[in-house]
Symmetry: C2
Subunit: 272 residues, 2 copies
């Protein structure tokens, strides 16, 4: 494996770009390849079987780009498919759950931690199991918030309706006196203000993006795989639907113009 | 073609069941085969290219079940892919747009008609073009309502947040003095109460399901293809994701237990 090989990022759609953004700040000289499965998004309401199938197809596609490490920048896919990916891939695979859980435990004082995510992430108890594995005494309070993704994608980030929905979803977590809340879906940082308002200022919001980026750095350093270039890396983006909408959202998320965006035909994913 | 052959219904997910329900009331003795693309739902936020590709795959699958007529029980697919389907299929294809537009024009007195639907349906101006084709003097006011599908699927049918969102989406239509409003997405009848409240009692809500079922009946009668059986028809359901959630929602929609629900592997759809 070559140090200059790119790092692969995978998400069901655009949400993983919040992770890429953290990552680019830490390691601007790495090359990256991102695949967003925009033709089949969202994953959060689909079955485990389907999420695993799609995730393996995406990993296969990125392997053909000679990635040196895979970041599953999607909480649903991390919750459901990480074990299958690790069985199948020989390169390191970093999900959102382990670094997010570790960071939450380091930030929490009362060890009462809230987790919000898609229905699939919450039903699979991925964060809950990981938190308890890392600290058996932790109390975890979970809540699926399926309307947050469409609200974030609509850009209704400070609408009264979003506030009401956040209140409905989050009041119980607040009553359970959590002191940290894991934003267990890569879309949720977009709604951070309204979520903070609903749970109260004293609750620390935990975004897995930054600790995941730190973990990637540790992995690469530990294996002597950091890119030594002094130049900015190249970022290539692949999506399964036509890239018009993706380009627009991605440029907003990352704050710069993107030129390397390509469409992947579904046949390239399914005909292995 | 045999009279006892089934009628095919296609939708991106569960929404088309509201059409099947209308249909079963009119023609309980027909056999039906339903395909819901639950592994790739929703279509309303995807590109035309992808919607056309998925719709042709679904039609191909249903053709292998020897359907005598295809109902595209999905407004997005009807808006985007009907011409391609009609080029490709030799059996009659009924979409939601023509019967919905015709019914709206027959109900409207002031010929100021509102249309709501997914982003794809509204961007394609499918209802607008059809209404103007049928009556060039009609005034059409359109609005995409992307949050209505997730709200309907969440079952938030009388939540204060749903009322606020409906008000935000629909106030402009109300101000434009429409007297009828086409519910241009098969999920929207589920939110009929809150939509009615937002536009006011005087506005007639137009659901394409019933006029589409009537049009199917006319087509079959005209071609001597009505099933003559005095027994209830058999209804078979196929979905692309595992059927657990579909079964639950479908039984709620149709008000009866369903036994014939099968999963279709994606390879069956994509490998033509």
């Amino acid at each position: 494996m070559n140090r200059t090989n790119p790092i692969g990022f995978f998400d069901s759609g655009v949400g993983g770009l919040t992770v890429v953004k953290s990552f680019m700040q830490f390691m601007p000289n790495e090359n990256i390849v991102y695949f967003g499965d925009t033709a089949r998004v969202p994953y959060g309401s689909k079955s485990n079987e389907t999420v695993i199938e799609y995730t393996l197809q995406a990993a296969n596609f990125l392997l053909r780009k000679n990635i040196k490490l895979l970041v599953v920048a999607c909480n649903t896919a991390s919750s459901v498919a990480l074990n299958d990916l690790r069985k199948f891939l020989t390169i390191p695979v970093i999900g959102m759950i382990e670094p997010g859980a570790k960071y939450a435990l380091s930030e929490s004082k009362n060890k009462r931690i809230g987790v919000i995510g898609t229905r699939a992430t919450i039903n699979n108890k991925a964060y809950s199991n990981e938190l308890k594995k890392q600290n058996p005494k932790v109390k975890v309070f979970e809540k699926a918030c399926p309307l947050f993704v469409p609200l974030a994608e609509e850009g209704w980030i400070d609408h009264k309706a979003t506030e009401l929905i956040a209140k409905e979803y989050l009041t119980e977590l607040k009553e359970n006196k959590i002191d940290s809340l894991i934003l267990g879906c890569t879309h949720y940082p977009i709604l951070a203000n309204v979520i903070q308002k609903a749970v109260g200022k004293s609750v620390k919001l935990i975004d897995s993006g930054t600790p995941a980026a730190r973990l990637v750095e540790d992995y690469l350093n530990g294996r002597g795989l950091r890119n030594q270039s002094v130049h900015h890396g190249v970022a290539e983006f692949y999506v399964s639907d036509v890239p018009t909408k993706f380009k627009e959202i991605a440029e907003k998320f990352l704050g710069k113009k993107l030129t390397h965006i390509h469409k992947v035909e579904l046949e390239e994913l399914t005909n292995e």
